[in-house]
């Protein structure tokens, strides 16, 4: 199954979940997503998603100045973002449940031949 297509649908939820753990800047969020096992996620997609969620009002952002390194723009979850994340969790559970049931091998002659 092409995971990139699957990811597109759930990247919002994944990003929200990561940022909910603790605030992060673009590259940081990307690294955490990849570390969690989403190796195929494109960095442009992550940065764009962060911006979209911010524009939609689910994230706050603030710049952390730094002496030796570049200034970083951090994102964090606000109340609306937390609410959105809860919705996404529920939706996801429901969806995976439905799909699990659908994909479960049925006990019928034709299905055995296919397998």
């Amino acid at each position: 199954m092409d995971t990139t297509q699957l990811l597109k649908g759930v990247l919002d939820a994944a990003v929200l979940a990561v940022v909910a753990e603790h605030d992060g800047y673009g590259y940081d969020v990307l690294r955490r997503l990849r570390g969690a096992g989403l190796h195929d996620v494109g960095d442009a997609s992550v940065y764009g998603t962060l911006r979209r969620l911010y524009a939609a009002g689910a994230l706050t952002s603030y710049v952390v100045p730094s002496e030796e390194g570049p200034h970083r723009k951090y994102y964090g979850l606000n109340a609306q973002g937390h609410a959105l994340l809860r919705e996404q969790r529920v939706a996801w559970r429901s969806f995976t449940q439905t799909l699990d049931d659908l994909l479960e091998p049925r006990a019928s002659a034709t299905m055995e031949v296919v397998q």
Partner: protein, 380 residues
């Protein structure tokens, strides 16, 4: 924004992405790529792999960024649907090729090697571009330095072109449209390189008009062009108005290069053809000549041609070879037909009736008698 300087390749990439997002407002742009430089620097520091390969095409990157950010796609200003399809097709091909290469085990090593050679390519394409310009303007390539209406201008152009090419390679003046133009220019440079390599061996030979023609036109002896022919008869006396033909009946015309010649004193020597059957013939020797200051002007009443000086006053007589039996051998005296192909060694000077222009220092050979000997011009 950032306190420290980013790596050049990161900067280039960000600039290219920014180029693709020109249509966005300043705020949106800043939102989207404000932190991009820093993030990409981190990404780059992750591994040794060159950044350009990891991130791919900045145009595609920008498009992905847009899409994920929920922003509308970039409006194609004034580009035709056909152009768009072609462009997208090319990008797809490029992406497919990239994917194939990435799967090859030897690709990482080769691509590293090629990346190191990139600056050399920048210099080479500048050289090729200047050479092409020279060829287009009609300057023949001569030697290593490019010739564009002169070697000095060629060298100056080469310096300018090299600087421009290197700066383009380093990512200056970047924009998506220019990137496409640059890709096209690179393709032209590759083709031009082939062209230049093909033409350069011939450039080594010197471009004397002589060599370019391959062989001189008209009569030539060992590559040299005789300026006139002086026939002598069997007794060694000089002949005039001798018509010469080859075995195919083609007139042995004097070379065009001999017909008008400039002398050192600024005058020109113009040869005057004889008139045979109403038309000028250049195969009647020795050709008469006249000196003039303006070879292109019509000859005036005083501009009479004269017979040229004989190179040899007299030559030894020919010892007649035993003539073969008369059966079938064409030893008949030459007829009055100027087109007769048979050359003979008839003892009598040939003299088909000619309308040779009168020469001031010799009696006019207007006598139609075929046996009348022509008076020899005064000896020098």
């Amino acid at each position: 924004m950032t306190a420290h300087v980013m790596r050049a390749d990161v900067e280039d990439f960000v600039a290219a992405v920014r180029g693709e997002l020109q249509d966005l407002s300043a705020d949106e742009l800043e939102e989207l790529i404000g932190g991009l430089g820093a993030d990409l620097s981190d990404l780059a520091a992750e591994s040794e792999e060159p950044l350009a390969r990891r991130l791919g095409d900045p145009v595609a990157y920008a498009a992905e960024l847009r899409e994920a950010a929920g922003l509308p796609r970039r409006p194609h200003r004034g580009r035709t649907p056909l152009g768009r399809t072609v462009r997208e097709g090319l990008r797809a091909d490029q992406a497919a090729l990239q994917a194939r290469l990435d799967r090859a085990p030897w690709w990482p090593a080769v691509s590293e090697f090629l990346l190191v050679l990139r600056p050399a390519w920048w210099v080479l394409r500048a050289y090729v571009a200047v050479q092409l310009l020279g060829l287009v303007l009609g300057s023949h390539p001569r030697g290593i330095l490019p010739n564009v209406l002169g070697h000095l201008s060629g060298a100056l152009l080469l310096v300018v072109a090299t600087v421009v090419s290197v700066e383009l390679g380093r990512g200056r003046w970047r924009s998506p449209r220019r990137d496409e133009a640059l890709a096209g220019g690179n393709a032209v440079a590759v083709l031009g390189l082939v062209l230049v390599l093909v033409t350069s061996p011939s450039a080594a030979t010197d471009d004397v008009v002589y060599a370019e023609a391959g062989y001189p036109q008209g009569l030539a002896v060992d590559g040299q062009v005789p300026l006139n022919i002086f026939p002598y008869d069997a007794q060694g006396r000089p002949l005039t108005d001798v018509q010469l033909f080859d075995e195919g009946g083609r007139p042995l015309d004097i070379s065009p290069e001999a017909r008008d010649r400039w002398q050192e004193d600024g005058t020109a020597t113009v040869q005057v053809p004889a008139v045979v059957a109403g038309s000028d013939q250049w195969n009647v020797y020795p050709l008469r000549e006249r000196r003039t200051t303006d070879p292109y002007a019509e000859p005036g009443p005083g501009d009479l041609p004269s017979s040229p000086e004989l190179p040899l006053v007299a030559v030894p007589p020919v010892v007649a070879a035993p003539t073969p039996a008369p059966s079938g051998s064409p030893t008949a005296a030459p007829t009055a037909d100027p087109a007769s192909p048979s050359g003979t060694t008839a003892p009598t000077p040939s003299g088909a009736p000619l309308q040779a222009p009168p020469s001031p220092d010799a009696p006019s050979p207007a006598a139609p008698s075929p046996d009348a000997p022509s008076a020899p011009p005064p000896a020098p």
